[in-house]
């Protein structure tokens, strides 16, 4: 039987889970927002990683066939997205129940209660199809957006359309309901859910024109047309394979917990590992020539030096202040009323970098308003902010001993293109053009990957070269 290993990285902002096989290959990834209930966050990330792993196994199984048949690839990609929508729908129902419950507690007066309940129903009715469309046609499932973010954005939009007198009561109901809904652990039945997703997918392809009344906004691309005509055939050929992976017994042989919340994970003591070691181990596994790792997470920045085995020889972390970390960007995004994902691309438009102090997040917010008043362009201010983050990280890197050999950048912030741009500039400026900078698409999962790798090694670290020999003899 195949053995799988789980790493869970409970960060300050997001919780990540990675499942690897016996060859240290990532076969499942799961991510969710960290919430007050750490163990729910860890469980959701883990379950998501297992679902993702089932799809990975499916793709692996189909192997060469998949390479030859683009319609299979399209079907599976779509199915994964719709599968996520099915999960989303169940949680949305839970949220609906919570909203009704809260409304009844807060507004005892019948007339008022009815009024608010009416608005809640209308809001839900308005945004549900939009979200469905985003999942089914705009690939929302692959964008790593969390339940809370998706729903709150739409809810806010709808509330803002209503009169100002409704703002407060609707927001009270929302604030009191979202956390309980988010903190409920829901056990999904994979098989049941995947079948539902297949049915939903069928509707999408068999009758796309009638799928949405507002058909003009549905964007049909070549790939959709590719599957359209052969849908039944593809679906029938894949059904058995899908059933097989749905029935697969996913045996997690060992697991490691890491990240800020690691002490709160329901893992035995020997299965808990520092995120510094995990990030370094993960980054080194993917880029073995790495000797310096920079990780920028939600609330801390770590500059780590590793040796040829991926072992940490020294590290430096931000103390006392977390300006310049992920949360700093989150705060700036809020100040600018734009989404976090838009920050980087907007900063990429900068024609110059306005000088911004990065010693304090809150004060940077004030500086931002002042600079806007002075007529500086948003793009240029954001350029300056992103540069400031890297300037701070550079000081930490210098403290840890500098950059040697290959340099690997990990953590959630490594997805931001402007951060990458300035990091590249400054690393090369300070340590020479020949420094190779690695940024992996899985950068946010590095800590969880390192954790899973420790789990595979039964926590105790093994030499990479010895490890290979041992695996071969098994």
């Amino acid at each position: 039987m195949n053995k799988y290993y789980l790493g869970v990285d409970l960060g300050s902002t997001t919780s990540k889970a990675v499942i690897i096989n016996e060859k240290d290959e990532i076969i499942g990834r799961g991510i969710t927002n960290t919430r007050a209930n750490y163990s729910v966050a860890a469980d959701i990330a883990r379950d998501e990683a297992i679902y993702n792993a089932r799809f990975s196994v499916l793709k692996k199984k189909l192997g060469p066939e998949l390479a030859l048949k683009p319609e299979y690839r399209k079907y599976i990609a779509d199915l994964e997205s719709v599968f996520q929508y099915e999960q989303f729908k169940i949680r949305l129902d839970k949220l609906g129940e919570e909203l009704v419950k809260t409304c009844k507690v807060f507004f005892k007066e019948e007339e008022k209660q009815e009024k608010i309940l009416g608005h809640l129903r209308a809001i839900r009715k308005a945004f549900k199809p939009q979200i469905k469309k985003d999942y089914l046609f705009n690939n929302l499932g692959s964008k790593n957006q969390f339940f809370r973010d998706i729903v709150s954005e739409k809810y806010n939009e709808e509330v803002n359309k209503l009169g100002t007198d409704l703002f407060e009561p609707l927001m009270i109901v929302w604030d009191k309901s979202i956390s309980p809904a988010e903190n409920q652990m829901i056990s999904f039945n994979f098989k049941e859910l995947v079948h539902k997703a297949m049915d939903e997918l069928k509707n999408k392809y068999i009758n796309p024109d009638e799928y949405f009344s507002d058909e003009s906004s549905v964007n049909f691309d070549a790939e959709i047309n590719l599957l359209k005509g052969k849908f039944d055939h593809v679906s029938d050929s894949l059904r058995n394979h899908i059933d097989e992976i749905a029935g697969l017994d996913f045996n997690i042989s060992n697991m490691t917990g890491t990240g800020y919340g690691r002490a709160l994970l329901p893992f035995p003591q020997e299965c808990i590992r520092s995120e510094i070691l995990c990030h370094a181990f993960g980054a080194h596994a993917i880029f073995p020539e790495t000797r310096t790792v920079l990780d920028i997470g939600g609330q801390d920045t770590k500059a780590i030096q590793v040796d040829k085995h991926g072992l940490v020889t020294s590290f430096q972390m931000n103390d006392r202040c977390a300006a310049g970390c992920g949360r700093y960007l989150g705060y700036i995004a809020d100040e600018m009323s734009i989404s976090l994902n838009e920050l980087g691309p907007m900063a990429m438009e900068a024609k110059k970098e306005v000088n911004i102090c990065s010693t304090c997040t809150v004060l940077a917010g004030a500086e931002l308003r002042e600079l806007t008043n002075l007529g500086e362009k948003r793009e240029d201010i954001l350029g300056g902010l992103h540069k400031a983050i890297i300037m701070r990280a550079m000081s930490l890197i210098a403290r840890s001993g500098g950059v040697f050999n290959e340099f690997t950048f990990t953590g959630g912030v490594a997805r931001n293109p402007a951060v990458i741009k300035y990091l590249g500039q400054l690393v090369k400026e300070n340590y020479g053009n020949e420094i190779k900078i690695n940024i992996h698409t899985d950068s946010i999962f590095m800590g969880a990957l390192g954790g899973a790798m420790f789990a595979r090694r039964n926590i105790g670290a093994e030499l990479p070269n010895l490890k290979k020999e041992k695996t071969l003899t098994h």
Binding site: S274, V312, T313, S314, M317, G401, A461, E462, L466
Partner: protein, 431 residues
């Protein structure tokens, strides 16, 4: 966190008695007519002070005691109220705050005002400012300053010794004669040096006992808690010799029984990591800080902070044949008066001779003098000794700068680094 009552050794009880007696004597100084000298730990002239029958008071030690007794936060706040900035050394602010609150010492007894402010170490520029402040707060107090040349070239020269002896003869001793009303007694000072030398021999043996595996002592936490302090206030006395004899016997017994260091919760059962530590400990959360180490089986086998009051393991001893020259050499030889390459050499020597698994720095937020150069020291040691290095930050006595969760997170990571490395090195040897 619930703190249980600490387990204590015989030497710790003896120390407590000696300190109680000392503070009692201080509280009665006015009645007994004894004169009081405020001075600092680095480069202290304890023997000279005692030879005039004067009583020493160490403001740094009072400050750290106030920190341990959870009084420093209020003292610091009061010092800030009268205008001391957030960035000023917290020992200074704590001391000034204590004074503003009636100068009640660690035992609850009032400390007498100084008759003399003796600044015998100038490597820390804050000391100068500290006493300038105290001079204003105690108008009319006598001040004596002994300028200690920094070991910029890494050695103590004959000229430097002459320069310091001249200051002792022309500035410090006349001031002491004036304050105490007594003539300087050369032979008495010389006699005290015999006791100093005995205590120093014992102290070195005690500190070097940490070369044993397992180490019978923690040379940092215990080093500052009950091994070192007696040294400063009592050096040169019979009592100090007795105390160190007692402690030495106790430690020999521990070695014989194969016992690890004593902690407030009993022996460390398994010595997992041996560390060398640079920088002072945090005092406001001393026990929680220490607990992070002993819970992980981390024993500090050598530290630099216990050498601030003198580096004796490199061979220096007070010498009864040349008491004034000894005082000069002593002041210049303190750890904080050594240049950075000397400190690196000393710490590397510790890592090697004490077979340490790692080197750790606790950097102090409000201390510019001691924190300068620490990153360079760390890097040099990493390169020279090939051991994993760690870096944490806290403060001396300002509880606002002790972040338990962050420090624990870093230390846990560091211990895991050491553990992982041990496994790998073991495998490499096997392979």
């Amino acid at each position: 966190m619930k703190i249980e009552k600490a387990i204590k050794e015989k030497s710790m009880i003896l120390q407590k008695e000696m300190l109680a007696k000392q503070f009692k004597e201080l509280s009665l100084a006015r009645e007994s007519g004894k004169k009081v000298v405020y001075t600092f730990v680095p480069g202290n002239l304890t023997e000279l002070i005692l030879s005039f029958d004067m009583l020493p008071v160490y403001p740094e030690i009072n400050a750290l005691q106030s920190g341990m007794r959870k009084k420093s936060a209020a003292y610091i706040k009061d010092a800030e109220k009268i205008g001391h900035s957030e960035d000023v050394c917290t020992y200074v602010k704590c001391d000034i705050g204590m004074m503003l609150n009636g100068n009640i010492g660690p035992t609850g007894e009032k400390l007498p005002a100084p008759d003399l402010l003796l600044l015998s170490y100038t490597g820390c520029f804050t000391f100068l400012k500290w006493f300038e402040n105290l001079e204003r707060l105690y108008p009319g107090v006598e001040v004596a300053m002994l300028h200690t040349p920094y070991q910029e070239d890494g050695k103590i020269t004959a000229d430097q010794i002459d320069y310091m002896v001249k200051q002792l003869r022309e500035e410090v001793i006349p001031k002491m004669e004036k304050v105490s009303g007594k003539k300087f007694d050369y032979s008495r000072l010389s006699q005290m040096m015999i006791n100093s030398e005995k205590s120093e021999d014992l102290l070195v043996k005690i500190l070097e006992s940490a070369k044993h595996k397992p180490s019978p002592i923690d040379a940092y936490f215990a080093g500052v808690y009950y091994i070192g302090p007696m040294f400063t206030a009592f050096r040169g006395t019979e009592e100090a010799v007795n105390y160190y004899n007692e402690l030495y016997l106790e430690i020999q017994e521990r070695i014989k029984l194969g016992l690890g260091p004593v902690t407030p919760e009993g022996e460390i059962k398994e010595e997992k990591f041996r560390l060398v530590v640079e920088g002072p400990p945090n005092w406001t959360n001393f026990r929680e800080f220490w607990k992070i180490f002993y819970d992980a089986g981390a024993v500090i086998v050598a530290s630099s902070y216990t050498k601030v009051g003198g580096v004796f393991d490199l061979g220096f001893r007070h010498n009864f044949r040349e008491p004034l020259e000894s005082l000069a050499k002593y002041c210049m030889g303190c750890y904080t008066n050594m240049n950075l390459p000397q400190r690196v050499d000393l710490l590397s020597k510790y890592v090697k001779e004490y077979q340490a698994d790692g080197f750790l720095i606790n950097s102090i937020k409000s201390c510019n003098s001691f924190s300068a150069g620490q990153l360079l020291i760390m890097r040099e040691i990493e390169q020279k000794c090939g051991v994993p290095v760690g870096f944490i930050e806290s403060d001396l006595v300002d509880p606002r700068y002790f972040s338990y969760a962050n420090i624990k997170n870093r230390l846990e990571s560091y211990f895991q680094m050491l553990e992982q490395r041990k496994i790998i090195l073991g495998q490499e040897t096997e392979a």
